[in-house]
Symmetry: C2
């Protein structure tokens, strides 16, 4: 084992770069993706890696964790030096998690010790963890642990979540692109239903993600420009589902416009707080839950109101639809990665970059930093002022907030009619430690 951990490796004095006191090498960086991926998380990876490459005098290379933090525990470190500048630039367009993500929560002291051993063995002096609320909780704990044991590393959290539910930041990278996908889809499917309702489908339901907060559902509201435009009804997880009231609303909408387009959050609950998907078992219709709010609602509506109903469940399509990503979102995702490198070089241990909206009529933003401790485990739900009084629409202030986040297009390159996404070599570095025995 490298001696740093045992003997307290510190940076060499009189040098901006973190250079190992013992082996005189520039330190490496570790970057990992965590939690559900987004269509722009790799843009952040691109920002981190290109940012590090611009700072070669300080950072030797970036090792990416194969499958998130598991890559660190299992010593599966992807050497990004093996990827060409062109491939790294292509990360900007690649959806999914290029290096593999994971859902994994560190729980044991031995796991932290293992991280230290791996980071020590591979001269890692910078830790970048790219994820949502749970993941930033991990970053926070890792940062605290390393500080406690005096391990010479700078830990930076980088936000990412389609749910837009992190506090302090104006918005989260990943959200704008889902919002753009959902609003686009609702506008397009709405035109389809509008043209058919006289003799066919009268109600269309699009189920979107957001189990605890209605940010994604709310974004569908951007599709409507004029009164009567779809979506006519948005069902938020924040608003308890009142069957009778919603049925009346659907019936009124069909009466007024001839058809009704509904956007339903997967996290829809009844008044008792039970998820609609869970309560379906006990429903009077005797339905068994098949995991979707949309089919359940559709069944209700067809039986109760007699309207021909169609439904779609966007599921992973919404969070991987890089082909319709928001340019604003892509730019912010990239900038967060690049900025995180700057933060690391400045030694902003235990912090996370956030986006601040600059006051003014035109949308402008800048990046700031906050302690991760203030972010971890805090969930920002949709403000009440963003939901209309009837509980099924978004207000003007919601539109003002949401609109800039979906602005601009950033189409990926296309080849043979399909988005052409780079493939990484994902070469892992030679292991230096015994296998992790958990």
């Amino acid at each position: 084992m490298h001696r740093a951990l045992k003997q307290g490796c510190t940076e060499r004095k009189n040098s901006k770069a973190k250079i190992c006191y013992y082996c005189a090498m520039k330190k490496n960086a570790f970057y990992a993706q965590s939690g559900g991926v987004t269509s722009v998380i790799n843009a952040t990876a691109c920002g981190v890696i290109e940012g590090a490459r611009k700072n070669r005098q300080h950072i030797n290379t970036v090792f990416a964790g194969q499958n998130g933090i598991l890559g660190a525990l299992q010593e599966n470190l992807i050497d990004t030096r093996k990827e060409s500048p062109r491939t790294i630039a292509g990360l900007r367009y690649l959806p999914g998690g290029a290096f593999g993500s994971c859902r994994y929560r560190l729980q044991k002291e031995t796991e932290y010790q293992r991280l230290a051993a791996v980071f020590d063995a591979h001269h890692i002096g910078y830790f970048f963890y790219n994820g949502g609320g749970d993941s930033q909780d991990t970053t926070h704990k890792v940062a605290q642990y390393f500080k406690k044991v005096g391990f010479p590393i700078t830990c930076i959290g980088i936000p990412k979540t389609i749910d837009n539910d992190l506090p302090l930041t104006d918005n989260c990278p990943g959200f704008g692109s889902v919002a753009k996908y959902v609003a686009t889809s609702v506008r397009e499917a709405g035109l389809d239903v509008e043209s058919m309702y006289v003799s066919s489908t009268k109600v269309f339901i699009l189920e979107v993600m957001g189990r605890h907060s209605g940010w994604i559902a709310a974004s569908a509201g951007l599709a409507a420009e004029q009164p009567g435009d779809p979506p006519h009804i948005i069902l938020f997880p924040e608003i308890p589902f009142d069957k009778a009231k919603v049925f009346q609303h659907i019936s009124d909408t069909v009466g007024q416009y001839g058809y009704c387009v509904i956007v339903a959050s997967e996290g829809l609950r009844d008044k008792s707080g039970t998820f609609l998907t869970d309560s379906a078992n006990k429903d009077a219709f005797g339905h068994v839950q098949l995991g979707g709010v949309a089919p359940i609602l559709s069944q209700y509506i067809q039986k109760k109101l007699g309207y021909k109903c169609h439904w779609a469940v966007a599921d992973y399509l919404q969070r991987s639809a890089r082909h319709i990503a928001s340019r604003t979102d892509v730019e912010q995702a990239y900038a967060m990665g690049e900025y995180a490198v700057q933060m690391a070089l400045k030694g902003q241990h235990g912090q996370m970059p956030i986006i601040r909206r600059i006051k003014g009529t035109n949308y402008r933003w800048k990046i700031d930093a906050v302690p991760i401790g203030k972010v971890a485990n805090v969930e920002r739900t949709l403000p009440k002022s963003y939901i209309t009084r009837n509980g099924t629409g978004i207000t003007a202030s919601a539109k003002t907030y949401l609109a800039p986040l979906i602005k601009g297009e950033d189409f990926p390159p296309f080849k043979n009619g399909l988005p052409h996404y780079v493939r990484l070599k994902k070469v892992t570095v030679a292991k230096k430690l015994p296998a992790w025995d958990k």
Copy 2:
């Protein structure tokens, strides 16, 4: 009532234009959209209207049926003269059916008489009917009726269907764009699953349209470029669903690649020919059908194989996704409309334009015409040679056929981050007849 019907209005001699013998007016054209809409059916409308405008010396104006053939029966005729050239040009980008479509089958003699009365009253000498198999059956019957009674009109069918199931034509306008949407979505969602499977979802199912033919499901196969690329399993309506075999295949795929992406046609049937969605009621798990193959499969897989499973149902999103339309498809849709006008002016009564693929290494196509009688009620299913021997993939010849149909992008204009689609005024002309009493 205009006297044509009673007295046998014919074209004035020595004139290329159809000019009413009695009122000395150039004849109008009637255009209607029928059946399920596509993201490019309005490109065809654009071709018809712009084509007619280029032939003002022959065609007075195009009246569009409000909600398809119902517009003719109810004398709801949208005067396309009221729409600016810019709006008409914008039809090229607008998904859905701009004038309203319908699912309506003419059945009574009185309906045909009513059509004649309306067309006579509005000096309509050209009939364009834009739809799929059922709709072309209507065009065929209308053409036969008018010929029989000697009504002076030229009837042209214009193909449109996402199902790609019309005979004689190499492909159907509308299909290429769905194919592009499905292949793009599978590629993108596949990258999502690939990055998460180690600690999360292992199986992802995308349900696509195509109740009787697997053209759309097959198009997902275009997403795979290298061995192991998603989709790993395509479930065609043409191949009876063999649960044990499919489970084994899924299990093998997860064993080999770590995850499995499945594309399932909504029209999946078991060996007895029963739709999976219908048979679910009788399933050993006691599931009640909620209208989707994907959730049913997901439930099976999770219970039998224990894999975490996610599923998406694209539904109307796939056929309205103009933002990811195929340029080839858009160009063909437009060309069909324009060509139909030429056919009408040449008097090709009872015919329909089709697309012929020109032999050669590079994809080239031309338009030809066939009698609608040969098209109506004939359904072209996926050739067996397009399905791999194991029944869950597409062959090289399928790829050769499909690949050019999704080529090229034709992004709509964007405004405020969303596709900006034109809005029509849809001004109907003054009625001249008593209300239709059915």
